[in-house]
Amino acid sequence: MDQPLQKRSTGRLMILGFLSPTILLLLFMVAYPIISLVYYSFHNFSAMRPADGMSWAGLGNYEYLLTDSAIWQRFVFTGKFVFICVTMQMILGIFVGYQLQKTFRGRDFLFTALMLPMMLSPVVAGFLWRYMLNSEWGVVNFLLSGIGLPKIEWLSQATPALWAAAVVDTWMWTPFIALLATAAFRGIPETIYEAAEVDGASPAYVFFRVTLPMSAPVLFIALILRLIDCFKQYDLFVAFTGGGPGSSTETVSFAVAKTAFSYFYTGEASALAVILLCIIMGLAMILVRHLSQMGER
């Protein structure tokens, strides 16, 4: 009787021993910053003016932010940007992934080439596209003029700027969806397709009733990752539009970074970061739960 108990406790100790470095690291790298963030969010405090000290603000920072129409404007823009980008990237990514799962000559080269935009830094991509979309000497307007279309002031008007940013983000991240989609599509057993063919299913029927449902968990993970990433998009906009014109392309993450490191309103920036964190975590929890249910089915 004693031996299994001893074995069990030794096993537990081993598990604890293996886990403890990770747990400690997580506590230090995640728990401590989050606790600090929440603590600062209830205070008026500027890291730039330490001599002014820190004063208790209660819910003041939250109240200020949530009643500030400028912040709501950032949320609305972020929502629009996320929706447009994720929709375009999922549709295009699935389409490209579906084509790339087929075996054809030069497929591997094409696959690698398509991944290139994803390997660029968003800041570099931002500057690159900023010049390409320059209304006077940018290549995009040059091509538009070449086919008789009028030049577009891409970055000096709010609506074209939103679409231009969405196009750049889609250009960068569609390959990511395509990569995961290809992997998911290739993971579906060939016999299922053969059975569908024997049953006389059309290619569209096979795609919508076999391919997509069977690869849904992977595609769902891709969707979650892109949603989170799009929601916290900051660096692209810094280089691409600077948040303008006006504040029409300023995301919430952009506002957090600016409040924290340009204004040095540390308390207010912390409160905004907490709000953003709650939204992203809430969204992720809903989606992960849905993913689990999908797995159970």
């Binding site: 500027s46 890291a47 730039m48 003016r49 330490p50 001599a51 320059n134 209304s135 006077e136 000497w137 030049k151 002031e153 891409w154 970055l155 000096s156 008007q157 709010a158 810094v238 539009t241 600077g242 948040g243 303008g244 014109p245 006006g246 504040s247 029409s248 600016k258 490191f261 340009s262 204004y263 040095f264 309103y265």
Partner: protein, 468 residues
């Protein structure tokens, strides 16, 4: 005994070597934006006689990253850099936060570095905080001012002159007022020939739009706020301020389509390609704009002083944004004695003459020398331009105030708000910012239509020509 002596001798040699090694390791790190002037400092520093001291740059692109790099280091009270070049308006933020060394202490102790080796106005502009206090936290290391560049070949072309005279009933000349500039810009705007009349910055980034719009605002007699009462309402959105910013927004009609989001790079590129007849640009860039290897129109480029404006009160004012940077010292640096020695060497006329060959020095001895004024086609105008400089708020809340004004002016440029609406919104948000920071706003109301008349009167009855 012999063994002991050898040991002692070895220890002494080792100590000397260590001492030498430690001295050789003295690096003075500075933060600035990358560019010609930072390169010039590096070149000059190579000749610093004390070879145990190395000057090391930590350069970033011009824009918010540059401010944020300095500010972040101050926030953690770090010593990753020893000195930095920061914008004049940042002095209040950094000195107000207690992060910058008070230069007065260095003036007191140094035999060479004294306040009077710099023009008083420059020292005040780049280093004084609070305004008028006589306390300095920066030295005018790299002065700059907004300037005007124009195509001499177009202005001197007899055909163009005759056509202009026929259309506007006056001679074609480099404009002295924005009213004149508008007509000249309109005259040269010929999209079918790929030529536009006017180029200026309007970008949302950092201070791109507002350094330009403020130059109009002040010239029309507007003001950003009333420093005595801290009122913004009635000043920033005064009729004169609206006139100024409206004139600025209207000038985009004479620039290439989409120029409303331009930064200095785009203004330079467009001018250098021969697309613009005139452009509003910092003197800082004149070196490259006058270089035939860089600009296709370098030989035809003239450099002048920005126009002023006749305001609604009938008075003429010429005011434009100060540029350039002051050199400030990190309070947390552990190398202040070495740095002061370097500065005593660096601010000697010999080094500053070298620097002034490519950039704009703040040393009086060089600025006043005929050799420097005749060195190129724009130094003389630059020394004249210095008298017309004006600046943003010298308040620690500058980054917030700037961002708000940038956003609202950008809204006016894109047309999403009228100029009046944008400036009124900016004024409301500025007052909210000031109140949150603890300022008491003494709302007296009744600001005049032309607030310059009660803040810092600069109006003159006659237009004073400077570009002839």
């Amino acid at each position: 005994m012999k063994y002991r002596s050898t040991l002692l001798a070895s220890a002494a040699v080792a100590g000397m070597l260590c001492g030498t090694a430690a001295r050789a390791d003295t690096t003075l790190t500075f933060v600035w934006h990358a560019g010609t002037c930072a390169d010039a400092i590096m070149d000059i520093a190579k000749d610093y006689p004390d070879k145990t001291v190395k000057v090391v740059p930590a350069l970033v692109p011009y824009g918010p990253e540059w401010h944020n790099k300095i500010a972040s280091e101050f926030a953690i009270q770090g010593d990753a850099f020893d000195f930095a070049m920061w914008d004049s308006q940042s002095t209040a933020e950094f000195a107000g936060g207690g992060h910058a060394v008070k230069i007065n202490d260095i003036f007191d102790q140094s035999t060479y570095l004294k306040a009077d080796i710099f023009p008083a106005s420059s020292l005040s502009q780049y280093g004084e905080y609070p305004d008028g206090s006589g306390q300095f936290y920066g030295l005018p290391v790299n002065q700059d001012a907004y300037g005007l560049m124009y195509r001499k070949d177009l202005f001197e072309n007899p055909g163009e002159q005759a056509a202009f005279k026929a259309k506007y009933n006056r001679d074609l000349k480099v404009p002295e007022t924005y009213q004149e500039a508008k007509e000249v810009a309109e005259f040269f705007t010929r999209p079918d020939q790929g030529l536009y009349g006017w180029g200026q910055m309007g970008g949302r980034d950092y201070d791109f739009a507002t350094t330009a719009s403020n130059s109009y605002l002040w010239s029309f007699g507007g003001e950003l706020y009333n420093p005595a009462t801290m009122e913004v309402e009635g000043y920033l959105n005064s009729p004169a301020s609206i006139d100024g910013v409206q004139a600025y927004v209207d000038m985009f009609k004479y620039g290439p389509p989409g120029s409303g989001n331009w930064g200095f790079d785009e203004v330079n590129a467009s001018f250098q390609q021969g697309q613009l007849a005139m452009a509003m640009q910092w003197f800082y860039f004149n070196g490259s704009n006058a270089d035939p290897k860089v600009s296709t129109v370098a030989e035809q480029t003239g450099f002048g002083i920005l126009p002023g404006a006749v305001g609604r009160d009938g008075l003429f004012r010429r005011q434009f944004s100060v540029g350039g940077q002051g050199m400030g010292i990190n309070k947390y640096s552990k190398k202040l004695p070495e740095l002061v020695k370097f500065m005593e060497w660096y601010f000697q006329p010999e080094q500053q003459t070298r620097y002034a060959a490519v950039c704009q020095t703040g040393l009086k001895a060089v600025l006043e020398s005929p050799e420097w004024q005749g060195l190129n086609s724009y130094n003389r105008q630059f020394s004249t331009a210095l008298q017309y400089l004006n600046d943003y708020w010298h308040l620690p809340e500058y980054p917030v105030m700037l961002d708000i004004l940038q956003e609202e002016v950008s809204n006016a440029i894109s047309g999403s708000k009228t100029v009046e609406q944008a400036l009124t919104d900016a004024a409301t948000r500025h007052e909210r910012t000031l109140e949150r920071a603890g300022y008491k706003i003494d709302r007296k109301g009744g600001a005049p239509e032309v607030p310059d008349t009660v803040i810092s009167p600069a109006g003159q009855a006659e237009v004073t020509p400077v570009n002839q």
